[in-house]
Symmetry: C2
């Protein structure tokens, strides 16, 4: 049976569905490929926000109230760094800092990002494969009146205030997909591709921009199901709504469908956007309408099952 | 007036007297040279325990109850590192971690240890010069039946359990004193040299072993006053007593005096060891007997004044 699932994920929203998929699929049936376009070097540490979001979600370590980072977090190292006059625009918790120190140390020792991620997630008791999209650095940048801003500069330091004129992924074209990503794309038993509810422009596009990933996805004759990150005609979190407006596109599921174009077979949209379904279906797209906000573990699991059913995959 | 003071210090005990000296001397009148033989690389971070002890003591950030590290400390980054399967034999607090991250980052950027230390101590509001003994790595090692152990391996991981057969300072002979240390040694207005109550074998000897430091100290015709780290015929903290025994020397101030030999003009000993004074004076050594345990800021300041008076330096 063709049942292996390749899921593409960004950070927070995507990480929740990634955790849902991990809760309903056996480890050997799931490859979670995570955006690394937001990664950056800060204070000598290699920070991979989306890999960490997915890791913390799968390990049950994510802070569900704050919506990002590790639960039971403290901020003492950052307070000391601030006292020492170091940059404090990117807030790093103490527990999170342990992750960045371990990753940076092992990368500096010569391990690939894939190997480091596999090791650290295994140590946290995660049985499923969390895979960076590429070993090579890809850097998402947002075009603004001030020029191209690195993603974290735009997202955190500038809090998405500048008007975006475009998005680019430095290094993506010449980057190769990571070995486990490339292997998943070629698996004989690949059953479906799930695009998690992450920002299509900022979190999923970098994955699609890596090497020949887009062509490889087009070649595969399996369903590609995306879960829309929009809820009630707005982004639940993050700058998607603002970005769509600035790029001259309506903040609607039509824009999500347009964006994925021919890659997309099925779009899962929130019940609050049920009105979008008719238009989407008129384009020949298959649509599921259901609650997509994931408050709790059972919401994540339910949405994972919905996406898998939409892809024609049976789950136990 | 010749009134500049060059003080040599190791960690905890030395750091207390260093703070006392800083409280009674103007910044321009004091150069605090600190042992870096205990420094090591751990998890990709450059850790300088003695520089940090002196820094935290002068900044008023030291934990006086635990006796080392930063007050109001937490241990969350270390807990995450442990969960990630990384080495946890050297416990690093979260606030302390901020220091190591800042230092490591700036060293990796190409700054010298002197420049980094000057910058970070200034940011913490310290006006006095805290100076590493050398920019070059010097590594204190303790000889044992298992071979030579790096200092932190001996001191922390093995908790000083192995019987010591000797101490050596890898890299010291070919290392140059740091620029500020070399400059202090040559100052026209150098008034005295104070050796803080640190372990002579493990914390002061590495400083004396750097390049031609010992010869330079012998050349200077100013008083060298040491404050003994022994209290009541035992080391207040750390392995000095055990080490003296293993090296076949009595645990007494006679051993301290022997160790510094001709360098030493005056030894300040604790009132509990008043009985040692006669023997020491019989060797031609000048001796002050007074309380040397530094519980509070006023103890530190008082002992600093005692040491300065012994050196013939007037303080305000």
């Amino acid at each position: 049976m063709k049942k292996h699932i390749l899921a593409l994920s960004g950070g927070v929203g995507g990480a929740k569905l990634a955790a849902g998929l991990a809760s309903v699929l056996a480890p050997e049936d799931l490859t979670l490929v995570v955006n690394t376009g937001d990664d950056f070097e800060h204070l000598g540490l290699t920070i991979c926000p989306d890999i960490d979001s997915v890791t913390y979600a799968l390990a049950g370590l994510n802070d569900t109230e704050r919506g990002w980072g590790v639960k039971d977090e403290t901020w003492q190292a950052m307070a000391m760094l601030r006292a020492l006059g170091e940059a404090d625009w990117f807030n790093l918790g103490d527990r999170d800092m342990g992750m960045h120190i371990a990753r940076s140390w092992r990368l500096r020792g010569g391990d690939t990002l894939s190997a480091v991620t596999a090791r650290l997630t295994r140590e946290l008791g995660i049985a499923h494969a969390i895979v960076p999209m590429s070993e090579a650095p890809v850097r998402t940048q947002v075009g603004t009146a001030e020029g191209w801003l690195d993603f974290q500069r735009y997202f955190v330091a500038e809090q998405c205030r500048p008007v975006a004129t475009g998005v680019r992924f430095e290094g993506a074209a010449s980057a190769a997909p990571s070995p486990a990503f490339a292997a998943a794309l070629e698996r004989d038993d690949l059953g479906a591709i799930i695009v998690c509810p992450s920002n299509p422009y900022l979190s999923v596009d970098p994955i699609l921009a890596v090497g020949d990933v887009r062509e490889a996805l087009e070649r595969r004759k399996v369903s590609l199901v995306a879960v829309s990150p929009l809820v009630g005609g707005a982004s639940l979190k993050g700058p998607l709504g603002k970005l769509l407006g600035e790029l001259g596109k309506p903040v609607s599921n039509a824009s999500i469908a347009d964006h994925y174009g021919d890659l997309l077979d099925h779009l899962v949209i929130d019940e609050a956007d049920a009105g979008d379904a008719g238009d989407l279906r008129a384009r020949g797209l298959s649509v599921t309408v259901c609650p997509t906000v994931m408050w709790h573990a059972d919401d994540r699991e339910r949405l994972a099952r919905v996406a898998l059913i939409a892809a024609g995959i049976e789950t136990g």
